[in-house]
Protein backbone atom coordinates (compact mmCIF):
# COMPACT_ATOMS: atom_id res chain seq x y z
CA UNK A 1 0.00 0.00 0.00
CA UNK A 2 2.50 2.64 1.21
CA UNK A 3 6.10 2.43 0.18
CA UNK A 4 8.85 4.82 1.10
CA UNK A 5 12.05 4.53 -0.84
CA UNK A 6 15.43 5.93 0.08
CA UNK A 7 14.06 8.91 1.95
CA UNK A 8 16.22 11.83 3.04
CA UNK A 9 14.40 14.44 5.06
CA UNK A 10 14.72 16.81 7.95
CA UNK A 11 13.84 20.21 9.33
CA UNK A 12 15.50 23.22 7.81
CA UNK A 13 19.12 22.28 7.52
CA UNK A 14 18.82 19.50 10.07
CA UNK A 15 18.88 16.07 8.42
CA UNK A 16 16.83 13.60 10.40
CA UNK A 17 16.27 10.70 8.02
CA UNK A 18 19.07 9.20 6.02
CA UNK A 19 18.14 6.93 3.16
CA UNK A 20 15.20 5.33 4.90
CA UNK A 21 13.24 2.69 3.03
CA UNK A 22 10.01 1.29 4.41
CA UNK A 23 8.48 -1.67 2.62
CA UNK A 24 4.81 -2.06 1.98
CA UNK A 25 2.85 -4.35 4.23
CA UNK A 26 -0.47 -4.86 5.95
CA UNK A 27 0.72 -3.70 9.34
CA UNK A 28 4.11 -2.06 9.40
CA UNK A 29 5.65 -1.09 12.72
CA UNK A 30 8.37 1.48 13.06
CA UNK A 31 10.47 1.09 16.19
CA UNK A 32 13.21 3.17 17.69
CA UNK A 33 14.46 5.23 20.55
CA UNK A 34 13.41 8.75 21.37
CA UNK A 35 14.57 11.05 18.66
CA UNK A 36 15.34 8.28 16.19
CA UNK A 37 13.12 9.93 13.62
CA UNK A 38 9.98 7.83 13.84
CA UNK A 39 7.59 10.72 14.02
CA UNK A 40 9.47 12.47 11.28
CA UNK A 41 8.98 9.44 9.09
CA UNK A 42 5.25 9.42 9.73
CA UNK A 43 4.95 13.15 9.17
CA UNK A 44 6.63 12.55 5.88
CA UNK A 45 4.28 9.72 5.04
CA UNK A 46 1.24 11.92 5.49
CA UNK A 47 2.89 14.81 3.68
CA UNK A 48 3.52 17.32 6.41
CA UNK A 49 7.14 17.44 5.42
CA UNK A 50 8.59 16.83 2.02
CA UNK A 51 11.62 14.63 1.43
CA UNK A 52 14.69 16.18 -0.10
CA UNK A 53 15.35 12.85 -1.72
CA UNK A 54 13.39 9.66 -2.25
CA UNK A 55 9.90 8.72 -3.22
CA UNK A 56 6.60 7.98 -1.54
CA UNK A 57 4.29 5.56 -3.29
CA UNK A 58 0.68 4.95 -2.29
CA UNK A 59 -1.35 2.33 -4.04
CA UNK A 60 1.40 2.23 -6.61
CA UNK A 61 1.08 5.93 -7.31
CA UNK A 62 3.78 8.51 -6.66
CA UNK A 63 2.41 10.92 -4.06
CA UNK A 64 5.70 12.46 -2.99
CA UNK A 65 4.52 16.00 -3.58
CA UNK A 66 0.86 15.61 -2.72
CA UNK A 67 -0.59 17.83 0.01
CA UNK A 68 -1.70 16.06 3.21
CA UNK A 69 -5.38 16.77 2.71
CA UNK A 70 -5.27 15.17 -0.73
CA UNK A 71 -3.60 12.15 0.75
CA UNK A 72 -6.43 11.94 3.25
CA UNK A 73 -8.87 12.13 0.37
CA UNK A 74 -7.10 9.15 -1.20
CA UNK A 75 -7.61 7.08 1.89
CA UNK A 76 -4.83 7.84 4.33
CA UNK A 77 -5.48 8.89 7.91
CA UNK A 78 -3.07 10.08 10.53
CA UNK A 79 -3.05 10.21 14.31
CA UNK A 80 -0.17 12.39 15.40
CA UNK A 81 1.84 11.97 18.54
CA UNK A 82 0.81 13.95 21.57
CA UNK A 83 -2.96 13.81 21.88
CA UNK A 84 -3.69 16.54 19.39
CA UNK A 85 -7.16 17.79 18.74
CA UNK A 86 -8.89 21.03 17.89
CA UNK A 87 -9.12 22.56 21.32
CA UNK A 88 -11.59 25.28 20.43
CA UNK A 89 -14.08 22.87 18.93
CA UNK A 90 -16.28 20.55 20.92
CA UNK A 91 -15.68 16.86 20.86
CA UNK A 92 -18.61 16.39 18.54
CA UNK A 93 -17.46 19.16 16.22
CA UNK A 94 -14.04 17.56 16.07
CA UNK A 95 -15.68 14.51 14.64
CA UNK A 96 -18.20 16.27 12.43
CA UNK A 97 -15.39 18.28 10.94
CA UNK A 98 -14.02 15.17 9.36
CA UNK A 99 -17.38 13.62 8.60
CA UNK A 100 -18.61 16.72 6.75
CA UNK A 101 -19.23 16.11 3.14
CA UNK A 102 -19.11 12.35 3.47
CA UNK A 103 -22.14 10.28 2.78
CA UNK A 104 -23.53 8.79 5.95
CA UNK A 105 -21.44 11.31 7.84
CA UNK A 106 -23.72 11.23 10.84
CA UNK A 107 -23.63 7.48 11.08
CA UNK A 108 -19.87 7.50 10.92
CA UNK A 109 -19.74 9.93 13.85
CA UNK A 110 -22.17 7.85 15.84
CA UNK A 111 -20.15 4.73 15.19
CA UNK A 112 -17.11 6.33 16.74
CA UNK A 113 -19.07 7.65 19.69
CA UNK A 114 -20.17 4.09 20.29
CA UNK A 115 -16.63 2.85 20.08
CA UNK A 116 -15.36 5.44 22.60
CA UNK A 117 -17.97 5.97 25.33
CA UNK A 118 -15.85 8.66 27.01
CA UNK A 119 -16.27 10.79 23.91
CA UNK A 120 -20.01 10.35 23.87
CA UNK A 121 -20.11 11.46 27.48
CA UNK A 122 -18.26 14.69 26.72
CA UNK A 123 -19.61 15.27 23.22
CA UNK A 124 -20.42 18.92 23.83
CA UNK A 125 -17.30 19.80 25.80
CA UNK A 126 -14.50 21.75 24.14
CA UNK A 127 -11.81 19.29 23.20
CA UNK A 128 -9.24 21.54 24.78
CA UNK A 129 -10.74 20.77 28.14
CA UNK A 130 -10.61 17.01 27.84
CA UNK A 131 -8.06 14.95 29.68
CA UNK A 132 -5.03 13.78 27.79
CA UNK A 133 -6.33 10.28 27.29
CA UNK A 134 -9.72 11.48 26.16
CA UNK A 135 -8.04 13.68 23.59
CA UNK A 136 -6.06 10.75 22.31
CA UNK A 137 -9.21 8.69 21.89
CA UNK A 138 -10.72 11.61 20.05
CA UNK A 139 -7.76 11.74 17.71
CA UNK A 140 -8.12 8.07 16.88
CA UNK A 141 -11.85 8.40 16.39
CA UNK A 142 -11.28 11.31 14.04
CA UNK A 143 -8.96 9.26 11.93
CA UNK A 144 -11.31 6.30 11.80
CA UNK A 145 -14.24 8.38 10.61
CA UNK A 146 -12.63 8.75 7.23
CA UNK A 147 -12.67 4.95 6.87
CA UNK A 148 -9.11 5.03 5.61
CA UNK A 149 -7.33 2.42 3.59
CA UNK A 150 -4.17 3.19 5.47
CA UNK A 151 -4.09 4.29 9.08
CA UNK A 152 -0.95 5.99 10.33
CA UNK A 153 -0.61 5.92 14.10
CA UNK A 154 2.10 7.68 16.05
CA UNK A 155 2.25 6.14 19.53
CA UNK A 156 -1.49 5.77 19.81
CA UNK A 157 -1.48 4.28 23.29
CA UNK A 158 0.74 6.91 24.84
CA UNK A 159 -1.05 8.34 27.86
CA UNK A 160 -3.99 5.94 27.68
CA UNK A 161 -5.29 3.96 30.62
CA UNK A 162 -4.50 0.23 30.46
CA UNK A 163 -8.06 -0.98 29.86
CA UNK A 164 -8.37 1.29 26.87
CA UNK A 165 -4.87 0.50 25.71
CA UNK A 166 -6.02 -3.07 25.47
CA UNK A 167 -9.08 -1.95 23.56
CA UNK A 168 -7.11 0.16 21.19
CA UNK A 169 -4.73 -2.66 20.57
CA UNK A 170 -7.66 -4.90 19.89
CA UNK A 171 -9.18 -2.32 17.63
CA UNK A 172 -5.98 -2.09 15.64
CA UNK A 173 -5.88 -5.82 15.24
CA UNK A 174 -9.51 -5.88 14.20
CA UNK A 175 -9.07 -3.12 11.69
CA UNK A 176 -6.06 -4.83 10.26
CA UNK A 177 -7.95 -8.06 10.09
CA UNK A 178 -10.74 -6.18 8.35
CA UNK A 179 -8.39 -5.14 5.60
CA UNK A 180 -7.14 -1.77 6.73
CA UNK A 181 -3.46 -1.19 6.36
CA UNK A 182 -1.64 0.27 9.34
CA UNK A 183 1.63 2.12 9.73
CA UNK A 184 2.38 2.12 13.43
CA UNK A 185 4.91 3.69 15.73
CA UNK A 186 4.73 2.05 19.10
CA UNK A 187 6.92 1.81 22.17
CA UNK A 188 5.31 -1.40 23.36
CA UNK A 189 7.59 -3.57 21.30
CA UNK A 190 5.76 -6.67 22.32
CA UNK A 191 2.47 -5.53 20.93
CA UNK A 192 4.07 -3.95 17.91
CA UNK A 193 5.80 -7.12 16.89
CA UNK A 194 2.73 -9.18 17.56
CA UNK A 195 0.57 -6.97 15.38
CA UNK A 196 3.04 -6.17 12.66
CA UNK A 197 3.48 -8.03 9.43
CA UNK A 198 6.77 -6.25 8.98
CA UNK A 199 8.80 -3.97 11.14
CA UNK A 200 11.52 -1.39 10.65
CA UNK A 201 13.97 -0.30 13.31
CA UNK A 202 15.27 3.23 13.16
CA UNK A 203 18.34 4.47 14.97
CA UNK A 204 19.51 8.03 14.51
CA UNK A 205 17.64 8.28 11.27
CA UNK A 206 19.10 5.13 9.74
CA UNK A 207 17.32 1.86 9.26
CA UNK A 208 19.22 -0.67 11.31
CA UNK A 209 16.94 -3.63 10.93
CA UNK A 210 13.88 -4.78 9.07
CA UNK A 211 12.06 -7.99 9.40
CA UNK A 212 8.86 -9.92 9.64
CA UNK A 213 6.69 -9.17 12.62
CA UNK A 214 5.66 -12.27 14.49
CA UNK A 215 8.97 -14.06 14.16
CA UNK A 216 11.30 -11.38 15.53
CA UNK A 217 12.53 -11.57 19.09
CA UNK A 218 12.29 -8.42 21.13
CA UNK A 219 15.90 -8.77 22.19
CA UNK A 220 17.28 -8.54 18.66
CA UNK A 221 15.04 -5.57 17.97
CA UNK A 222 16.26 -3.88 21.14
CA UNK A 223 19.81 -4.42 20.05
CA UNK A 224 19.09 -2.85 16.69
CA UNK A 225 17.51 0.15 18.35
CA UNK A 226 20.58 0.80 20.46
CA UNK A 227 22.95 1.11 17.50
Amino acid sequence: MLELTDIEAGYGRTRVLHGVTVPSGKVVAVLGHNGAGKSTLLRLAIGLIKPSKGRVLFDGEDITSLAPNRRVARGMAYVPQGQQSFGQLTTLENLQLVADGRREGRALVDAQLDRFPALAQFATRKAGLLSGGQRQQLAIARALITEPKLLILDEPTEGIQPTIVAEIEQTIMQLAAGGMHVLLVEQHIGFALQAAERYVVLASGHVTQTGEGGKAATSTVRAAMAI
Binding site: Y11, G12, R13, T14, R15
Partner: protein
Protein backbone atom coordinates in the same frame (compact mmCIF):
# COMPACT_ATOMS: atom_id res chain seq x y z
CA UNK B 1 24.26 36.36 20.69
CA UNK B 2 26.09 35.84 23.90
CA UNK B 3 28.84 33.84 22.36
CA UNK B 4 31.06 36.68 21.33
CA UNK B 5 30.10 39.61 23.50
CA UNK B 6 33.47 41.25 23.17
CA UNK B 7 33.22 41.48 19.43
CA UNK B 8 29.94 43.29 19.87
CA UNK B 9 31.58 45.60 22.36
CA UNK B 10 34.26 46.38 19.82
CA UNK B 11 31.49 47.08 17.34
CA UNK B 12 29.96 49.57 19.68
CA UNK B 13 33.37 51.20 20.01
CA UNK B 14 33.78 51.56 16.27
CA UNK B 15 30.24 52.86 16.01
CA UNK B 16 30.94 55.40 18.72
CA UNK B 17 34.06 56.66 17.00
CA UNK B 18 32.26 56.98 13.69
CA UNK B 19 29.38 58.83 15.25
CA UNK B 20 31.14 61.03 17.76
CA UNK B 21 34.39 61.80 16.02
CA UNK B 22 34.15 61.19 12.31
CA UNK B 23 30.60 62.37 11.56
CA UNK B 24 31.02 65.92 12.93
CA UNK B 25 34.14 66.33 10.82
CA UNK B 26 32.83 65.12 7.50
CA UNK B 27 29.15 66.03 7.47
CA UNK B 28 27.60 69.39 6.62
CA UNK B 29 25.55 71.12 9.31
CA UNK B 30 22.36 70.01 7.63
CA UNK B 31 23.29 66.37 7.42
CA UNK B 32 24.78 66.36 10.88
CA UNK B 33 21.51 67.69 12.15
CA UNK B 34 19.66 65.00 10.23
CA UNK B 35 21.99 62.38 11.63
CA UNK B 36 21.16 63.72 15.07
CA UNK B 37 17.51 63.21 14.30
CA UNK B 38 18.15 59.63 13.19
CA UNK B 39 20.06 59.06 16.41
CA UNK B 40 16.95 60.04 18.36
CA UNK B 41 14.88 57.50 16.46
CA UNK B 42 17.66 54.98 16.88
CA UNK B 43 17.60 55.45 20.65
CA UNK B 44 13.90 54.68 20.66
CA UNK B 45 14.53 51.77 18.28
CA UNK B 46 17.09 50.21 20.59
CA UNK B 47 14.38 50.16 23.22
CA UNK B 48 11.92 48.60 20.82
CA UNK B 49 14.47 45.96 19.96
CA UNK B 50 14.71 45.11 23.63
CA UNK B 51 10.96 44.95 24.20
CA UNK B 52 9.95 43.38 20.92
CA UNK B 53 12.96 41.51 19.61
CA UNK B 54 13.99 40.02 22.92
CA UNK B 55 10.84 40.32 24.96
CA UNK B 56 8.23 39.55 22.30
CA UNK B 57 6.18 42.60 23.22
CA UNK B 58 5.34 44.36 19.99
CA UNK B 59 5.22 47.89 21.32
CA UNK B 60 3.29 49.83 18.72
CA UNK B 61 2.81 52.87 20.88
CA UNK B 62 6.34 53.96 21.66
CA UNK B 63 5.15 57.34 20.43
CA UNK B 64 3.56 57.76 23.85
CA UNK B 65 6.90 57.60 25.61
CA UNK B 66 8.65 59.49 22.87
CA UNK B 67 6.05 62.18 23.53
CA UNK B 68 6.64 62.21 27.26
CA UNK B 69 10.29 63.00 26.77
CA UNK B 70 9.76 65.29 23.82
CA UNK B 71 7.00 67.38 25.36
CA UNK B 72 8.81 67.62 28.68
CA UNK B 73 11.82 68.97 26.89
CA UNK B 74 9.75 71.15 24.54
CA UNK B 75 7.83 72.73 27.39
CA UNK B 76 11.05 73.59 29.11
CA UNK B 77 12.60 75.06 25.98
CA UNK B 78 9.41 76.98 25.18
CA UNK B 79 9.40 78.52 28.61
CA UNK B 80 13.09 79.25 28.35
CA UNK B 81 12.44 81.11 25.10
CA UNK B 82 9.35 82.88 26.37
CA UNK B 83 11.05 84.16 29.49
CA UNK B 84 8.49 85.57 31.89
CA UNK B 85 5.78 85.83 29.27
CA UNK B 86 3.13 83.25 28.50
CA UNK B 87 4.07 81.43 25.28
CA UNK B 88 2.68 83.13 22.19
CA UNK B 89 0.34 80.38 21.03
CA UNK B 90 -1.48 80.39 24.34
CA UNK B 91 -2.19 84.09 24.10
CA UNK B 92 -4.23 83.49 21.00
CA UNK B 93 -6.91 81.55 22.81
CA UNK B 94 -7.09 83.22 26.13
CA UNK B 95 -4.85 86.22 26.50
CA UNK B 96 -5.59 86.72 30.16
CA UNK B 97 -5.36 83.19 31.51
CA UNK B 98 -2.14 82.24 33.27
CA UNK B 99 0.24 79.49 32.26
CA UNK B 100 -1.45 76.08 32.76
CA UNK B 101 -0.40 74.71 36.12
CA UNK B 102 1.32 71.65 34.76
CA UNK B 103 3.70 73.81 32.74
CA UNK B 104 5.01 75.67 35.76
CA UNK B 105 7.46 73.04 37.09
CA UNK B 106 9.02 72.68 33.66
CA UNK B 107 10.67 76.05 34.10
CA UNK B 108 13.27 74.24 36.15
CA UNK B 109 16.00 72.46 34.21
CA UNK B 110 16.44 69.89 36.94
CA UNK B 111 12.76 69.06 37.06
CA UNK B 112 12.65 68.72 33.30
CA UNK B 113 15.54 66.29 33.21
CA UNK B 114 14.00 64.34 36.04
CA UNK B 115 10.65 64.28 34.24
CA UNK B 116 12.26 62.96 31.06
CA UNK B 117 13.57 60.02 33.03
CA UNK B 118 10.85 59.48 35.59
CA UNK B 119 7.69 60.12 33.59
CA UNK B 120 8.18 57.21 31.18
CA UNK B 121 9.32 54.97 34.00
CA UNK B 122 6.23 55.72 36.04
CA UNK B 123 3.78 55.62 33.14
CA UNK B 124 5.27 52.49 31.60
CA UNK B 125 5.50 51.00 35.05
CA UNK B 126 1.84 51.48 35.79
CA UNK B 127 0.69 50.59 32.30
CA UNK B 128 2.96 47.57 32.06
CA UNK B 129 2.02 46.37 35.51
CA UNK B 130 -1.66 46.61 34.70
CA UNK B 131 -1.32 44.87 31.33
CA UNK B 132 1.23 42.19 32.16
CA UNK B 133 -0.35 41.18 35.43
CA UNK B 134 -3.57 40.70 33.51
CA UNK B 135 -1.58 38.73 30.95
CA UNK B 136 -2.39 41.00 28.06
CA UNK B 137 -0.02 40.02 25.28
CA UNK B 138 0.53 39.37 21.62
CA UNK B 139 -1.74 41.17 19.23
CA UNK B 140 -3.82 42.58 22.07
CA UNK B 141 -0.82 44.27 23.52
CA UNK B 142 0.24 45.64 20.15
CA UNK B 143 -3.17 47.05 19.35
CA UNK B 144 -3.69 48.46 22.81
CA UNK B 145 -0.42 50.32 22.80
CA UNK B 146 -1.13 51.60 19.33
CA UNK B 147 -4.53 52.84 20.46
CA UNK B 148 -2.88 54.63 23.34
CA UNK B 149 -0.58 56.44 20.96
CA UNK B 150 -3.51 57.45 18.79
CA UNK B 151 -5.48 58.61 21.82
CA UNK B 152 -2.58 60.68 23.10
CA UNK B 153 -1.99 62.25 19.70
CA UNK B 154 -5.68 63.13 19.41
CA UNK B 155 -5.67 64.56 22.91
CA UNK B 156 -2.67 66.75 22.21
CA UNK B 157 -4.14 67.87 18.89
CA UNK B 158 -7.29 69.03 20.59
CA UNK B 159 -5.74 70.79 23.57
CA UNK B 160 -4.32 73.68 21.66
CA UNK B 161 -3.84 76.12 24.45
CA UNK B 162 -2.28 73.56 26.76
CA UNK B 163 -0.02 71.76 24.32
CA UNK B 164 0.09 73.72 21.10
CA UNK B 165 -2.28 71.27 19.43
CA UNK B 166 -1.62 69.93 15.99
CA UNK B 167 0.92 72.67 15.32
CA UNK B 168 3.02 71.47 18.18
CA UNK B 169 5.71 73.33 20.01
CA UNK B 170 8.50 74.97 18.07
CA UNK B 171 10.66 78.03 17.70
CA UNK B 172 13.00 77.25 20.57
CA UNK B 173 15.81 79.72 21.12
CA UNK B 174 17.78 78.23 23.97
CA UNK B 175 18.81 74.81 25.15
CA UNK B 176 19.54 74.95 28.87
CA UNK B 177 21.06 78.34 28.43
CA UNK B 178 22.81 77.64 25.16
CA UNK B 179 21.75 79.51 22.06
CA UNK B 180 20.35 76.90 19.69
CA UNK B 181 21.14 78.81 16.53
CA UNK B 182 24.83 78.73 17.24
CA UNK B 183 26.45 76.05 15.05
CA UNK B 184 28.85 75.10 17.83
CA UNK B 185 25.93 74.44 20.14
CA UNK B 186 24.20 72.45 17.44
CA UNK B 187 27.20 70.16 17.31
CA UNK B 188 27.10 69.88 21.05
CA UNK B 189 23.46 68.83 20.96
CA UNK B 190 24.29 66.30 18.28
CA UNK B 191 27.10 64.88 20.37
CA UNK B 192 24.78 64.52 23.34
CA UNK B 193 22.24 62.58 21.24
CA UNK B 194 24.90 60.40 19.64
CA UNK B 195 26.50 59.81 23.02
CA UNK B 196 23.18 58.77 24.50
CA UNK B 197 22.68 56.34 21.63
CA UNK B 198 26.03 54.74 22.39
CA UNK B 199 25.12 54.52 26.06
CA UNK B 200 21.81 52.86 25.20
CA UNK B 201 23.63 50.33 23.03
CA UNK B 202 25.97 49.57 25.91
CA UNK B 203 23.03 49.10 28.23
CA UNK B 204 21.31 46.58 25.98
CA UNK B 205 24.62 44.91 25.23
CA UNK B 206 25.01 44.18 28.91
CA UNK B 207 21.36 43.20 29.24
CA UNK B 208 21.54 40.79 26.33
CA UNK B 209 24.57 38.97 27.64
CA UNK B 210 23.20 38.86 31.15
CA UNK B 211 21.01 36.19 32.63
CA UNK B 212 18.19 38.64 32.40
CA UNK B 213 18.58 38.57 28.62
CA UNK B 214 18.15 34.81 28.60
CA UNK B 215 15.22 35.00 30.95
CA UNK B 216 13.60 37.56 28.70
CA UNK B 217 13.91 35.30 25.68
CA UNK B 218 12.54 32.44 27.74
CA UNK B 219 9.59 34.58 28.75
CA UNK B 220 9.01 35.54 25.15
CA UNK B 221 8.96 31.92 24.00
CA UNK B 222 7.06 30.29 26.84
CA UNK B 223 5.72 32.75 29.31
CA UNK B 224 3.65 30.25 31.25
CA UNK B 225 6.57 27.91 31.59
CA UNK B 226 8.65 30.66 33.17
CA UNK B 227 5.99 30.98 35.79
CA UNK B 228 6.58 27.36 36.72
CA UNK B 229 10.22 28.08 37.33
CA UNK B 230 9.32 30.46 40.09
CA UNK B 231 9.56 33.73 38.22
CA UNK B 232 6.74 36.14 37.64
CA UNK B 233 6.93 36.77 33.92
CA UNK B 234 5.05 40.03 34.41
CA UNK B 235 8.04 41.42 36.26
CA UNK B 236 10.49 40.26 33.65
CA UNK B 237 8.48 41.90 30.90
CA UNK B 238 7.90 44.96 32.98
CA UNK B 239 11.60 45.63 33.32
CA UNK B 240 12.16 45.35 29.58
CA UNK B 241 9.12 47.48 28.85
CA UNK B 242 10.14 50.22 31.26
CA UNK B 243 13.69 50.34 29.94
CA UNK B 244 12.38 50.56 26.42
CA UNK B 245 9.97 53.34 27.41
CA UNK B 246 12.82 55.21 29.04
CA UNK B 247 14.83 54.98 25.85
CA UNK B 248 11.93 56.24 23.78
CA UNK B 249 11.59 59.17 26.14
CA UNK B 250 15.27 60.02 25.90
CA UNK B 251 15.05 59.83 22.11
CA UNK B 252 12.05 62.14 22.20
CA UNK B 253 13.76 64.60 24.49
CA UNK B 254 16.77 64.94 22.21
CA UNK B 255 14.55 65.11 19.14
CA UNK B 256 13.25 68.49 20.28
CA UNK B 257 16.43 70.59 20.34
CA UNK B 258 17.75 68.86 17.23
CA UNK B 259 14.68 69.14 15.03
CA UNK B 260 13.31 72.26 16.64
CA UNK B 261 9.69 71.16 16.64
CA UNK B 262 7.52 68.46 18.15
CA UNK B 263 3.97 67.78 17.03
CA UNK B 264 1.39 65.06 17.70
CA UNK B 265 2.16 63.61 14.27
CA UNK B 266 5.54 62.50 15.62
CA UNK B 267 3.92 60.33 18.25
CA UNK B 268 0.78 58.97 16.61
CA UNK B 269 0.18 55.68 14.87
CA UNK B 270 2.18 56.38 11.74
CA UNK B 271 5.25 57.60 13.59
CA UNK B 272 5.14 54.70 16.01
CA UNK B 273 4.93 52.27 13.13
CA UNK B 274 7.81 53.93 11.34
CA UNK B 275 9.96 53.34 14.39
CA UNK B 276 9.05 49.68 14.19
CA UNK B 277 9.87 49.64 10.50
CA UNK B 278 13.43 50.55 11.31
CA UNK B 279 13.69 47.88 13.95
CA UNK B 280 12.25 45.20 11.68
CA UNK B 281 14.48 46.29 8.85
CA UNK B 282 17.64 46.17 10.91
CA UNK B 283 16.80 43.03 12.83
CA UNK B 284 14.63 43.07 15.88
CA UNK B 285 16.59 40.74 18.09
CA UNK B 286 20.09 41.84 17.24
CA UNK B 287 22.18 44.41 19.04
CA UNK B 288 22.88 46.85 16.23
CA UNK B 289 19.96 46.02 13.98
CA UNK B 290 17.33 48.27 15.52
CA UNK B 291 19.61 51.31 15.74
CA UNK B 292 21.04 50.94 12.27
CA UNK B 293 17.64 50.08 10.81
CA UNK B 294 16.06 53.17 12.31
CA UNK B 295 18.87 55.32 11.02
CA UNK B 296 18.56 53.78 7.58
CA UNK B 297 14.83 54.41 7.47
CA UNK B 298 15.39 57.98 8.62
CA UNK B 299 18.00 58.47 5.98
CA UNK B 300 15.75 56.95 3.34
CA UNK B 301 13.01 59.33 4.28
CA UNK B 302 15.32 62.33 4.05
CA UNK B 303 17.02 61.46 0.82
CA UNK B 304 14.71 59.21 -1.18
CA UNK B 305 11.72 61.10 0.15
CA UNK B 306 13.26 64.17 -1.47
CA UNK B 307 14.21 62.82 -4.80
CA UNK B 308 11.23 60.58 -5.31
CA UNK B 309 8.43 61.25 -2.85
CA UNK B 310 5.79 59.04 -4.42
CA UNK B 311 8.31 56.32 -4.91
CA UNK B 312 9.55 56.51 -1.35
CA UNK B 313 6.14 55.57 -0.05
CA UNK B 314 6.14 52.52 -2.29
CA UNK B 315 9.67 51.67 -1.27
CA UNK B 316 8.78 51.92 2.37
CA UNK B 317 5.76 49.72 1.82
CA UNK B 318 7.79 47.16 -0.08
CA UNK B 319 10.47 47.30 2.57
CA UNK B 320 7.98 46.19 5.17
CA UNK B 321 6.74 43.39 2.98
CA UNK B 322 10.01 42.05 1.68
CA UNK B 323 11.95 42.28 4.91
CA UNK B 324 9.29 40.71 7.08
CA UNK B 325 8.46 38.07 4.52
CA UNK B 326 11.94 36.97 3.61
CA UNK B 327 14.12 38.25 6.41
CA UNK B 328 12.10 38.10 9.60
CA UNK B 329 15.27 38.76 11.53
CA UNK B 330 16.17 41.76 9.46
CA UNK B 331 19.23 42.66 7.49
CA UNK B 332 21.49 41.83 10.40
CA UNK B 333 20.60 38.17 9.96
CA UNK B 334 22.00 38.16 6.43
CA UNK B 335 25.65 37.44 7.38
CA UNK B 336 24.59 34.56 9.58
CA UNK B 337 22.45 33.22 6.77
CA UNK B 338 25.30 33.28 4.31
CA UNK B 339 27.56 31.66 6.85
CA UNK B 340 25.00 28.97 7.54
CA UNK B 341 24.54 28.32 3.86
CA UNK B 342 28.22 27.66 3.50
CA UNK B 343 28.39 25.38 6.51
CA UNK B 344 27.84 21.68 6.08
CA UNK B 345 24.17 20.92 5.96
CA UNK B 346 24.50 18.06 8.46
CA UNK B 347 25.08 20.50 11.26
CA UNK B 348 22.10 21.16 13.40
CA UNK B 349 20.68 24.59 13.02
CA UNK B 350 18.53 26.21 15.62
CA UNK B 351 14.88 26.39 14.68
CA UNK B 352 14.15 29.75 13.14
CA UNK B 353 13.47 32.49 15.63
CA UNK B 354 10.06 31.77 16.95
CA UNK B 355 7.90 34.81 17.21
CA UNK B 356 5.29 34.68 19.89
CA UNK B 357 2.27 32.94 18.55
CA UNK B 358 -1.17 34.37 18.72
CA UNK B 359 -2.08 31.20 20.47
CA UNK B 360 -0.55 32.69 23.57
CA UNK B 361 -3.30 35.20 23.67
CA UNK B 362 -5.85 32.56 24.11
CA UNK B 363 -4.37 30.50 26.86
Amino acid sequence: MTKKPWISLGGIGVFAVLLLAVAPLVLSDHWLNNLGKYCCWAIAAVGIGLAWGRGGMLVMGQGVFFALGAYSMAMHLTLESAGDRVPGFMVLYDPLAPLPAFWEPFRGAGFTLLAIVLLPVVVAGILGYALFKRRVKGAYFAILTQALAVALATLISSTIRETGGDTGLSDFKYFFGFVLNDPANKIMVFLIAAGLLVVCLLVVWQLYRSRFGELLVATRDAEERVRFLGYDPANVKLVAFVVSALMASIGGAMFVPIVGIITPAEIGAAASILMIAGVAFGGRASLFGPALGAMAVGWGQSSLGSTWPDGWTYILGLLFIVVILFLPNGLSSLPARFAAARRRPEQKAAPSAATPELEEVRS
